[in-house]
């Protein structure tokens, strides 16, 4: 029987952020359980730069960002078990896990931090008609094959979805000698960050075809081509708009889903809009000793935010172990043009530090303010010249705003236009 104060499930950026912070706060036994053969999560296959601009104020690659935290964790005395799969969480404090050296093991812990990250949507999740040939990959799988395993998935490629991984793979494929024929996006605007649209697609004259989707897949053993068609405002395919593109590979970059199979069996409440646990500002779930952070709670734009969420979860676990409980909860409701928001609730503690909300809008808008309203009255607002679903909005609210919000049981966050 193993014992720990904090068990962190998942050793990616969220888990590493949580583990380092937990040790810094003086928590004695901090254990990471990691499925892969090394810590770092998805970062090691993300060999491009653009990581750490916020957290370190430096432009790092994924492997560099991961290595900094792995080295820090080692120095701080974080323990980890690699090649280890968690099977179950029982009674909120017993973790059943297995690996080939320890066999089946039970770990008793005071607190649990869920940091399992997310998974890619596959062809099955979006129901593309057609045959079932080889040559269809999720963008992340292709990234791992090219960047870590020295395998080229194909030479003539269509990418469905303009999410960041899809865009980055368009450039990477071009750099390793493949021809990217098109990036096809169902929405009328790109799903990825502007810098990726520019530096990955425009730089290499790769056509980014908006308001289109893949309507059929051809090929017996190997993919031979796809048809793409125009999508109207209701999401239907426009008749006779279809066009055939020969290719041997189709990459899917059609969204990420938080990985919550383990969370579900604990009985914590999940949010249907984020697909992740319902948390407070310390990433505390609806079971007091279970915390969740990173892409398991919602899919973030930047790894920097994921690290911060991990650190908050560790602070939450620390407060819980010190016996500091929260007295009251304020629910955060989603108003006009808000797709999702984390945290979904604020817990009031005697000593309060500023709270950051991470939110996404449903559709793009210009000249707006993002406001927080208590019984219809504005208690906080921030002007934004433009909001887009692809760029997360970060709102930091002060102690004073939190106190105002705490006079009631719920506040609403919404997007409103403003006049100059």
């Amino acid at each position: 029987m193993y014992k720990a104060n904090v068990v962190i499930i998942g050793g990616g950026p969220a888990g590493l952020g949580a583990a380092c912070k937990a040790k810094e706060l003086g928590i004695e036994k901090v254990l990471i359980l990691e499925r892969d053969r090394e810590l770092g999560g998805i970062l090691f296959q993300c060999i491009h730069n653009g990581f750490g601009l916020q957290y370190f104020n430096e432009d790092l690659t994924g492997p560099e960002y991961a290595t900094r935290f792995i080295q820090k964790a080692q120095k701080l005395g974080v323990e980890s078990k690699l090649n280890t799969i968690v099977l179950e969480i029982n009674n909120n404090k017993k973790i059943l896990a297995v690996n080939s050296s320890d066999g089946l093991m039970e770990i008793n812990t005071e607190t649990i931090i869920l940091a399992m990250g997310c998974r890619e949507r596959t062809r099955g999740a979006i129901n593309i008609p057609g045959t079932r040939p080889a040559g269809i990959f999720t963008a992340g799988t292709a990234q791992r094959l090219i960047n870590m395993e020295n395998l080229l998935p194909g030479k003539s490629v269509v990418i469905l979805g303009s999410g960041d991984i899809g865009l980055i793979m368009a450039r990477r494929l071009t750099w390793v000698g493949a021809k990217v024929k098109a990036i096809v996006e169902m929405l009328p605007y790109p799903s990825g960050l502007t810098r990726n649209v520019v530096q990955c697609a425009e730089d290499y004259d790769i056509p980014l075809i908006l308001s289109h989707t893949v309507t059929n897949i051809y090929g017996k053993k190997r993919l031979t081509g796809v048809t793409i068609g125009k999508v109207d405002e209701e999401g239907n395919i426009v008749r006779k708009s279809e066009k055939y593109i020969p290719c041997d590979t189709l990459l899917l970059s059609v969204g990420l889903i938080p990985e919550n199979e383990l969370s579900k069996n604990t009985g914590i409440k999940l949010d249907a809009d984020t697909n992740g646990p319902f948390v407070n500002q310390y990433m505390q779930t609806t079971i007091p000793n279970i915390f969740a952070c990173g892409n398991v709670t919602q899919v973030y734009d930047l790894v920097d935010y994921v690290t911060e969420a991990g650190e908050l979860a560790a602070e939450g676990a620390h407060l819980y172990m010190k016996g500091l409980t929260n007295s009251k909860t304020v629910l955060i409701k989603k108003g006009r043009n808000i797709r999702q928001i984390v945290p979904q609730r604020i817990s009031l503690y005697e000593r309060q530090k500023p709270i950051r909300f991470y939110l996404r809008v449903q559709y793009p808008e210009e000249k707006v303010k993002v406001g927080i309203y208590k019984e219809g009255k504005e208690i906080f607002s921030k002007k934004q010249l433009i909001v887009r679903p692809s760029e997360m909005i970060v709102l930091e609210i002060s102690d004073e705003v939190i106190r105002k919000a705490s006079e009631t049981n719920e506040v609403t966050v919404k997007i409103n236009g403003y006049r100059n």
Partner: protein, 125 residues
Amino acid sequence: MGIETKNKAITCILCPLGCKIDVLKKKGTIIVKGAKCAKGKDYAIKEITNPVRVLTATIRVRNGILPLLPVKTTLSIPKKQVFTCLKKLYQLEVKAPVKMGTVIVKSIANTNSDIISTRGIDSKH
């Protein structure tokens, strides 16, 4: 060089506004339209005169726990040099173990930018 006219539509990447900027280069003068800030104007001028990028790639590793070593340029390099540099990198092979931050190539393709490893790779045995 001399007298040349170049016109380019640029999306600014410096902030989430993503200004659509038109840059016109004519007889040594550059006209920038659509940039909402001074930084954006500078970016647009750089994009039409000498666009630069950080290059990240992989090179082969012998006897490593992984077959590839991720690397990057220490500085931004001219965009037009990207494929020249990639070609040089694909011809290389290093032997494990390699530490993160090791200089693999000094001043690649005379760009003044070194190529360094961005992770460590242990040897197989």
